[in-house]
Symmetry: C2
Subunit: 561 residues, 2 copies
């Protein structure tokens, strides 16, 4: 198995007739999936998603792929193919379309509908190309065939890309529920047919490659939800992802069976379920739906609220209910169901929500105590089926952190893919498929681009480093006004400390020290504000460290008057 050297050089030009594959996201992380294929001078992009920040990226709203690699060649893009409608696959599309609005965007009916709703908020119009499983369409030199895959959102697709360089199968995200609720199976026969034709490169979803066995059918959640409904005392509050149409369908079915009304709460839930219902992916009997403003008219034991917030997002309705900071006051007669996964990184906040709800006595049902969630991604058992059926010449695990990519690579090796044909790449690593062999040939920049408020890319690693220091230690700012010629102190020093845990009474000592330092400096004829700042920074930093053993950010300001 080949894997990237930490210091790969920029790649050489792509060999004539070869196919270049560069993931700008999704390799080494779960999220911001984006793969750029290049052949014969043209580009095909598969997915364009966002990554949600961890605590290491404080204050950031979203993380985008870095488009720099393709920025000079946007006109060479023949299509942007979206495998499905999750944020980590479509969330960055508005940002790419800002740079070239007329990129043809290709996807299934639901995927495009969810994208349109998002683009409307960004006031962007697009050129949608609707495809369905079984379709085969060419975009420039890329001959694309679409295959049905089963996932935690309807209408997901895998894409097979044929070029002169060979046949690539990109699975997108998928699992292989053998009894899917909508009857739409992952197209294993299609995968087998491509395998028989000869797959030169398989790129397959690694998210659950470490998990042994098989994912339980989504269908098995139904009876559990039904049981919760039958035994609930009064209100039922179900939190799940706003795109999980099948999960919501099962909740609606249980509501119908148990004579309860349903109210969708939260902008994204209302929007997405509206789209899904309109397109026929969600079956909602009119008579069971109520608007949020009407819920007080429904007896608590006849009511179901379906909301987001299953990841403990602090501003979500569910978090606010847990903190008694919401008009809906949770009591010991309420049942709350967290019908979703626990995305790594959200454990603390979800735990806080569970404890908050439990404190008020609510019964909390979650994946830790009941089968109210199954994963949307194939476990190792299913991945082995795909590897065995497709028999790829080369294999590249995608969509996963290092641990998942390595685990998937091992599965490929076990099924007989030669180790030298297994390519473990990370974001930005350039893989060329030439003469039927996939090899790492270099790397291009693929750093994080941060969205924070309205700005894209203006919050940098330096800003985040500052935030981490400020967030851990606070700051101490010292302001003095000095005479610009003599350097003599005219006013101050004034100290402003925030988050540093330093009490005002302690300041006197350091103020004396600063004054002494400035007196000496003036006596020595030092009047340069930069030099004076440095003197102040050193004095205060030393004092804080001696006194408190802490290292807040020291911000000296010397105003020359």
């Amino acid at each position: 198995m080949s894997h990237p050297h930490p210091d790969l050089a920029p790649p050489p030009p792509l060999a004539e007739g070869g196919l270049r594959v560069v993931a700008l996201g999704g390799l080494g992380e779960i999220g911001r999936n984006m793969t750029v294929f290049e052949h014969d001078g043209r580009l095909l992009v598969v997915d364009c998603g966002v990554l949600f920040p961890e605590t290491e990226q404080p204050g950031v709203d979203l993380i985008l792929p870095d488009f720099e690699y393709i920025r000079g060649r946007l006109d060479a893009i023949d299509a942007l193919i979206l495998t499905h409608g999750h944020e980590d696959h479509i969330g960055a599309v508005p940002y790419l379309l800002r740079e070239r609005p007329d990129i043809p965007v290709v996807g299934s009916r639901l995927t495009l509908a969810l994208l349109q709703a998002k683009l409307a908020e960004h006031r962007i119009k697009t050129v949608p190309v609707e495809v369905a499983e079984g379709d085969r369409r060419s975009f420039g030199p890329f001959d694309c065939e679409f295959l049905a895959v089963n996932h935690s959102i309807p209408d997901a697709l895998a894409v097979a890309v044929r070029t002169a360089a060979g046949l690539v199968l990109h699975t997108g995200d998928f699992k292989m529920d053998q009894l899917p609720l909508d009857g739409r199976l992952t197209d294993l026969p299609g995968f087998a047919r491509l395998g028989a034709e000869g797959i030169d490169l398989l790129m397959s979803d690694s998210t659950n490659a470490e998990v042994p066995g098989f994912v339980t059918s989504e269908r098995n959640i139904g009876p559990v939800i039904d049981d919760v409904f039958r035994t609930a005392q009064e209100r039922i509050i179900v939190a799940c992802f706003a795109s999980h149409v099948h999960r919501v369908q099962q909740v609606l079915d249980a509501a119908v069976a148990n004579g309860r009304k349903v109210c969708f709460i939260g902008r994204s839930m209302v929007r997405n379920m509206g789209v899904a219902r309109e397109l026929g992916y969600l079956t909602v009997p009119d008579e069971i739906m109520v608007e949020q403003k009407e819920i007080d008219n429904v007896p608590p034991d006849r009511l179901v609220l379906v909301c987001t917030g299953s990841q403990g997002e602090p501003m979500s309705a569910l978090s606010r209910m847990a903190n008694r900071d919401h008009q809906i006051r949770v009591t010991e007669r309420d049942t709350v169901v967290l019908a979703s996964s626990l995305i790594p990184g959200n454990e603390e906040s979800v735990n806080r929500v569970i404890n908050g709800l439990t404190r008020w006595g609510a019964r909390v049902v979650h994946k830790g105590n009941a089968l109210v969630h199954v994963s949307g991604h194939s476990s190792a058992g299913e991945l082995l089926y795909v590897l065995n059926v497709t028999k790829p010449s080369n294999f590249m695990p995608i969509h996963g952190e290092w641990r998942h990519l390595r685990a998937h690579a091992k599965l490929a090796s076990l099924t007989g893919v030669p180790d030298e044909n297994i390519v473990i790449a990370e974001d930005g690593v350039v893989v060329d498929l030439v003469d039927g062999k996939a090899r790492i040939v270099g790397a291009v920049p693929a750093g994080y681009v941060y969205v924070d408020g309205l700005s894209v890319g203006e919050v940098t690693e330096t800003s985040l480093k500052d935030r981490r220091i400020l967030g851990e230690e606070g700051f101490v700012s010292i302001v003095v006004a000095v005479d610009s010629t003599s350097g003599k102190l005219l006013a101050g020093p004034e100290i402003h400390a925030r988050g540093a845990g330093i009490v005002d009474e302690d300041f006197d000592e350091v103020l004396d020290r600063i004054e002494a330092v400035l007196r000496d400096a003036a006596a020595d004829g030092v009047n340069d504000s930069h030099q004076l700042s440095q003197l102040i920074r050193r004095t205060v930093g030393k004092w804080v460290n001696e006194t408190y053993r802490r290292r807040p950010m020291i911000v000296p300001v010397v105003v020359e008057v």
Copy 2:
């Protein structure tokens, strides 16, 4: 079941002959365990531990119980009993002893030895009273009997406290390994004997009350570790808690069996294992130990490193190895074993370590893929045994978050403890045992006391709120010097922004706005620096929000010259 009203009043005086129980920590959280018993005007304290901060408490080193409730009555403390040597039970002892050094500290041999090592670092001398299982000792009006319990550290004790008010059994932390490595079983016959005598109040460890079934024996880890040792290519690096003597013993045994040398790495690991070895709790053949400076002389396939860092602590050796920021450079021939639990809140950092090590190709063995950890706390199955054997009149779940306390309360109810005699309290809630009935009678303050660097309690909730804002959004400081009489601008405005993601080129616009605002103010005769600060704050805050949709901390500084 009775549980605290959010706004409980201060408690009435304790009834004659009654026993008052107040947890200053450990109820509603996992950590800083501390219970204060009061009878006949005297106090008995059980445990005095620390809580480790979550992301909600940025920059904080430790969280202590608030001693305010007992501060005025320290002389009334007849003893401080320590159930075992974990940080969440002994970590706050130095801070309590600072306030009264001659409190008699009671504990088992290993517990006191681990405490002494800690106190030596704080330069505190104590009055230790060594006890062992089977001992019965009176401290003031508190007649205390000690019973053996099995836990993830040797020499743990439960304590039965007899007063005129009745018999209380406090389990400490425990599990019921029926084949413990040291043969020291949790004293179920002792519990049964107390049950026959009549337990008026059972206080029992709730940490794993939500987990069904029974904890696997520690003994079952041995073969798994042995298998890892037999199949490891070269170096083996084992990370575990620095107090888990039995776990380390199993690693040492595997090292002996597989002809490997062992090196302890990290201050706490070296110190604690030294103590455990000296007292005979750890058996270490001299010939297998090597010092860290000698490890380069040992062939990699003959070497085992035992270190801390299993929770992904950023400065630990293991984290630095994962980042290639340590002299030990992990390669694809190394095996790393995380032989420990994953403490809630540490998932992100542990995942980062696993991914880092995996990136360099190391084989990483952890509780997710092998039986290299078992919990130290009883699961529901074991807790039921204790409830059934002790048959308490009153029950109070301790050591747990709300979800754990409620789950444990439910188990008690299922075993027949009347609901009205099950008391779910949180920190500071006052429970009185009077006439054989335990009831909530009020509450006392029991907030978090933060240790940050050298200061205790100086970092407040306000500091933390500031840190959270600064950590998410950074700050923008605007400094002006004005004439103290006319309010006219003499110098500035100068802008200093850190962590706000605002680029210098954007400043011009807001500087113009500030100047205009100050001009208008001067024209209106406004010269009060507080008023000018408010004007600047509003101007800049509005600009940042309009321009960036962000809310950094705005820090206006008006220097009057």
